[in-house]
């Protein structure tokens, strides 16, 4: 391992950082003594189940709960009106209001199959489910919007929106110069990628136990990614600042992005517990998890790339759309896909259009590497391009990846890059894996009618994010050496399997100079440990590790100061090793840490002047805003051309995750991500029929990878320390990002003799047979031109203002001079109202825009009804706003380009 020198601090050598120590969590988990949310039972606790919509979209005509209420053992049946007695506003992961109204239970409409309508409280879950089945609902069913294609043309999912675009960024029309660069390139490809919908599928489903402990206290046991983040979210969502909210989640059975924030059912249970005054438990069953828990990934991208004659990247354009479902946890257009698409590559020109779409399906949530589509699209496109250009795919990457020597540099999207190493990871991978030998084996196999393939991919990943978004904070380590000499750490980190009680203890033991066995890490309780967004964005090793180092160093200094005072030595001569305090050159003066600790707590008279009694220290570490992890992976497969089955032969990970605290934990994170990647490419496919009915509602239909589907992974550690304290880089998500293109590339390489394999995940045997046999076996149009037919381009409703622009300009166009009331619809946030004043002098234009934020003056041009002007703004970032409007009588309309944020539509009327 590549543990860096931490400087001569007088602490024993790095004995635990970098070691494959046994995990502290494992004895309780192996013996069935873990504490998951369903393991909690409180006195007087009742159970919750939900009656849910069986249709994807419609109005509720009537709800009859009589039979449900009359069932013995039922305490209450709550509808939307009942829960509305408690103020509640669901918030996104970023603690922002949701863009469309979201109620906990249906408010007159249902928007997806599984939408909760009634909450039943009963003596047991069995009875609650019996009662749920007795709730009678009459609907006026409507045609649902299910797919992205439906969303483009279908009626708006939400009565409050004009169209189904939940967010849009980038340029609706490709920039003319970029288009020219692409069309003029020596080699051009247009690459389509379709990603299916994924269920995060943590083995522990969602669940909560909520207990109102009097009017001023609320205790929640909830399976989550950070108890302190849930406490913050609940306090804000419920508007209960005076209520002490304690959130406990000792053990969490996986999350993978699903449990970032509570959603309808968890929050409804909490509200019901507040209203009903008894502790309530709701544990999602697997059917609910597959039909009502938020999901991820469903997206499509068209990626255009232009290369010069040598295969060097010239220009690229990406058009991305994601199916956000009805109630996404933040209706975003996933601009991170665009941000990181070319992050590791040298490319001079890039543009994009990125959109999220509402549909009558389950809402979008995070899933390990939420922007992973960028690596899938780019790396599979590069292999396709390499085949078309006759360049080796490895060589194509060597010509275009940004190397360490070329840094510092900025990506085409402006990412500052100082120490990314995908090119170096690739070289280390190739030093380990003999490509030439594989190509010989592949050639021999093909002669025998066997189809082997090699896939290689490279990427970078932002990890350890802090400070750039309000919710992404640093991490807090609070340490104390107890009077017993044992070390207790309260960490703001939280494990859903990450093993932070182990890795943080390793760091602390290492830096303090005590035995690993003598360090206990407590987390999983908002009453202990400071605020943290938890396990989100591969951040805990980087930031929590840094906090543990800094707090340990503070505490070690304190020990040394006290020991020096007691032993009549100078602090520089004191070292701490294995829980013993030594004075250099005086072995007879060694003392146990315990003996010093007893004095620190119990004998204040013996402490140095001004010394705070006890041995305690804390530090909140905020790292650089972003720490990049890099990797290159290779995998080899054999595709059975009779059955279409894929067998993975080898898989090698060459990754740079900086300082490794525990190789077993790091490899476990990568392997877990790769297994999910293999599921994504070959097996998993959450599917709806045309009426929006989910058809993969058990694990017999939604196929998760089994042990027999996953090969033994080989690891090449190509680590270089990062610039964060301790040198760690995040590693939680990478396998799930780099895994899919690696495997897809291996399959397409194997089947290259049959033609290109459309990247339409999952690559089921039927889809591969369609390519192998040159006919549509899968029924998806795979391998045929039809599968790449462009979807309808424009949104019907979006055309209304454009139509106004396109309408024939009256011959005698009225003057623009005067005042106008204007509405701008930006890509994010609510419409903005402003007034405009225009004055013309010939074709010269001057004027100002005025809104509550202030007045901004401009000059521009006016010609034949066309109004053009520019404004420079500083917030939210430095951009130039380019207005392009058309006047028609007393109506003005058009758009404003907002730099890389895309464009906004404007409409307005003359103020008479």
């Amino acid at each position: 391992m590549n543990a860096p020198e931490f400087g001569a601090t007088g602490i024993g050598a790095a004995r635990y950082i970098g070691q494959r120590v046994l995990r502290k969590e494992d004895p309780r988990l192996l013996t069935g003594r873990g504490q998951f949310v369903d393991d909690i039972a409180l006195p007087g606790m009742l159970h919750v189940a939900f009656a849910r919509s069986p249709i994807a979209r419609g109005r509720i005509l009537s709800i009859d709960t009589t039979a449900a209420r009359e069932l013995e053992g039922v305490h209450a049946v709550f509808l939307h009106a009942d829960l509305s007695k408690q103020k509640i506003e669901l918030l996104s992961f970023f603690l922002m209001p949701i863009e469309v109204p979201v109620t906990l239970l249906a408010d007159g409409r249902v928007a997806y199959v599984g939408d909760p309508i009634a909450l039943i409280i009963a003596d047991s879950r069995h009875i609650a489910e019996d009662a749920a089945a007795l709730v009678e609902v009459e609907y006026a069913e409507e045609d649902p919007v299910v797919t992205i294609a439906d969303a483009r043309t279908g009626a708006p999912v939400h009565p409050t929106t004009e169209h189904n675009i939940s967010q849009e960024m980038g340029d609706e029309e490709i920039d003319e110069d970029l288009d020219a660069a692409l069309n003029g390139a020596a080699h051009q490809i247009t690459h389509h990628v379709t990603h299916q919908r994924i269920s995060q599928s943590p083995m522990e489903t969602r669940g909560v136990v909520a207990s109102r402990d009097g009017p001023e206290e609320l205790t929640l046991y909830i399976t989550c990614q950070s108890p302190t983040n849930i406490a913050r979210w609940m306090s804000m969502a419920l508007g209960l600042p005076q209520t002490a909210i304690r959130v406990i989640a000792k053990d969490v059975g996986g999350s993978f992005g699903l449990k970032n924030t509570p959603w309808k059912e968890e929050t409804a249970t909490v509200v019901a517990a507040l209203l009903y005054g008894r502790p309530l438990k709701w544990i999602e069953d697997r059917y609910e998890n597959l039909t009502a828990a938020n999901q991820a990934r469903e997206a499509e991208m068209t990626l255009r790339i232009g290369f010069d004659k040598d295969g060097k990247l010239l220009a690229s354009h990406s058009d991305y759309s994601s199916n956000n479902g009805a109630y996404p946890q933040g209706a975003d257009a996933n601009v991170a896909v665009q941000m990181f698409l070319w992050g590791a590559y040298k490319i001079p020109a890039f543009g994009f259009l990125t959109r999220g779409w509402y549909s009558n399906t389950i809402g979008l949530a995070a899933y390990r590497g939420p922007w992973a589509m960028e690596s899938l699209a780019r790396e599979t496109a590069l292999d396709t391009a390499a085949r078309q250009m006759g360049i080796d795919p490895i060589e194509l990457r060597r010509r275009n990846l940004l190397t360490l020597k070329e840094q510092p540099a900025a990506s085409v999207m402006g990412l500052p890059l100082e120490d990314i190493t995908p090119a170096e990871c690739l070289e280390k991978l190739l030093a380990y894996f003999d490509v030439a030998a594989f190509r010989r084996e592949q050639a021999e196999a093909r002669k025998a009618g066997r189809y082997l393939g090699l896939g290689i991919a490279a990427y970078i990943e932002p990890t350890g994010s802090a400070g750039s978004m309000p919710v992404m904070t640093g991490e807090l380590a609070q340490l104390r050496i107890e009077p017993t000499g044992q070390v207790t750490a309260l960490m703001s980190t939280h494990s859903q399997g990450h093993g932070t009680a182990t890795t943080m203890a390793q760091v602390i033991a290492d830096r303090l100079g005590v035995a690993y066995e003598d360090v206990t890490v407590f987390e999983g309780d908002s009453s202990r440990g400071g605020f943290s967004p938890g396990a989100a964005g591969s951040r805990q090793g980087v930031i929590g590790g840094g906090a543990a180092i800094k707090a340990s160093d503070l505490l070690a200094s304190k020990v040394k100061e006290l020991a020096a005072h007691l032993l009549n030595a100078s602090p520089e001569t004191i070292t701490i090793t294995d829980g013993m305090i030594h004075v250099s050159g005086a072995p007879e003066m060694s003392r146990s840490l315990r003996s010093i600790a007893e004095i620190a707590y119990g004998e204040p008279a013996r402490l140095p002047e001004g010394f705070e009694a006890g041995l305690e220290a804390q530090y909140r570490y905020t790292p650089p805003p972003m720490t990049f992890t890099s990797a290159a992976h290779a995998c080899t497969v054999e595709v059975d051309v009779d059955t279409g089955f894929v067998k993975i032969l080898r898989w090698i990970s060459s990754e740079d995750c900086g300082t490794v605290i525990n190789p077993a934990v790091v490899e476990g994170q990568i392997a877990g991500g790769l297994a999910q990647a293999i599921g994504t490419v070959l097996l998993e496919d959450f599917h709806y029929d045309a009426r929006g009915n989910p058809t993969t509602v058990t694990y017999k239909d939604y196929l998760l990878p089994q042990i027999s589907d996953i090969p033994t992974f080989e690891f090449v550690h190509a680590n270089t320390p990062s610039q964060s304290v301790g040198g760690m880089r995040g590693v939680g998500e990478g396998g799930a990002i780099i895994g899919p293109p690696t495997l897809v590339n291996a399959i397409t390489d194997a089947l290259a003799p049959f033609g290109e394999v459309p990247v339409n995940l999952p690559l089921t045997p039927a889809k591969l047979l369609s390519v192998i046999e040159g006919r549509d076996i899968a029924g998806t149009g795979a391998g045929t031109a039809a599968s790449h037919a462009p979807a309808p381009v424009e949104v019907a409703v979006a055309e209304a203002p454009v139509a106004a622009v396109a309408a024939p300009v009256p011959a005698a166009s009225t003057s623009v001079d005067g005042d106008w009331q204007i509405t701008m619809v930006p890509p994010m946030g609510p419409p903005q109202e402003m007034t405009a004043h225009f004055a013309t002098d010939g074709t010269a234009l001057s004027g100002y825009l005025e809104s509550p934020e202030g007045r901004q003056e401009f000059t521009g041009s006016y010609d034949g009804g066309k109004v053009k002007f520019e404004l420079k703004v500083e917030k939210p970032m430095k951009i130039t706003l380019k207005y392009d409007l058309t006047v028609d009588g007393d109506v003005i309309s058009g758009k404003v380009k907002l730099g890389m944020l895309g464009s906004a539509k404007l409409t307005g009327t003359r103020i008479v």
Partner: protein, 164 residues
């Protein structure tokens, strides 16, 4: 719904209960017995997290009714380690091989391996992997579980002997 008086032995101790016929063994062990190491991951027999040993055989406790277990001898993950806390060889091997992360599927994996390697039984690695294909682990990518199975298998050679 008919109710039945049943008695089972769980980890060597008696457990009596009055249960509806529809109650699964898994729910009975968790709710009536407090054996919360029995984890219900899917309740339709795919994930394997709820596996317990009933009369010597690994059983999915979500697919067996409590009334079917009347009179049976049941072992759960809580009952495998020695009273002094010494881990069962399967548990120890899984710990050493980092065969778990979140630990939710773990009790089921432990029980299947314990059932198949009980006493002198030493299945082949292939047989153990075959059995483990009935367990879903979403965290580990099965790397440590596979290593543990290799060590516990008949064909592991001297290393398996050390562990057992």
């Amino acid at each position: 719904m008919s109710e039945h008086q049943i008695s089972v032995t769980v980890n060597g101790r008696p457990l009596h209960g009055q249960v509806e016929s529809r109650v699964s063994l898994g729910d009975f062990l968790r709710i009536d017995g407090g054996y919360t190491g029995v984890h219900l991951g899917c309740e339709h027999g795919v994930c394997g997290a709820c596996t317990v040993i009933v009369d010597g055989k690994a059983v999915r406790s979500c697919l067996m009714l409590a009334v079917q277990a009347d009179g049976s001898d049941v072992t759960t993950a809580e009952g495998l380690a020695e009273p002094d806390g010494t881990l069962h060889p399967v548990q120890q091997t899984m710990r050493e091989e980092h065969a778990l992360q979140c630990g939710f599927c773990t009790p089921g994996v432990v029980m299947t391996l314990a059932a198949l390697t009980a006493g002198d039984a030493r299945p082949t690695e292939e047989a153990l992997i075959g059995a483990l294909s009935g367990h879903i682990c979403r965290c580990t990518g099965y790397q440590g579980i596979r290593r543990a199975a290799k060590r516990l298998a008949a064909d592991a050679g001297a290393r398996a002997g050390e562990v057992a």
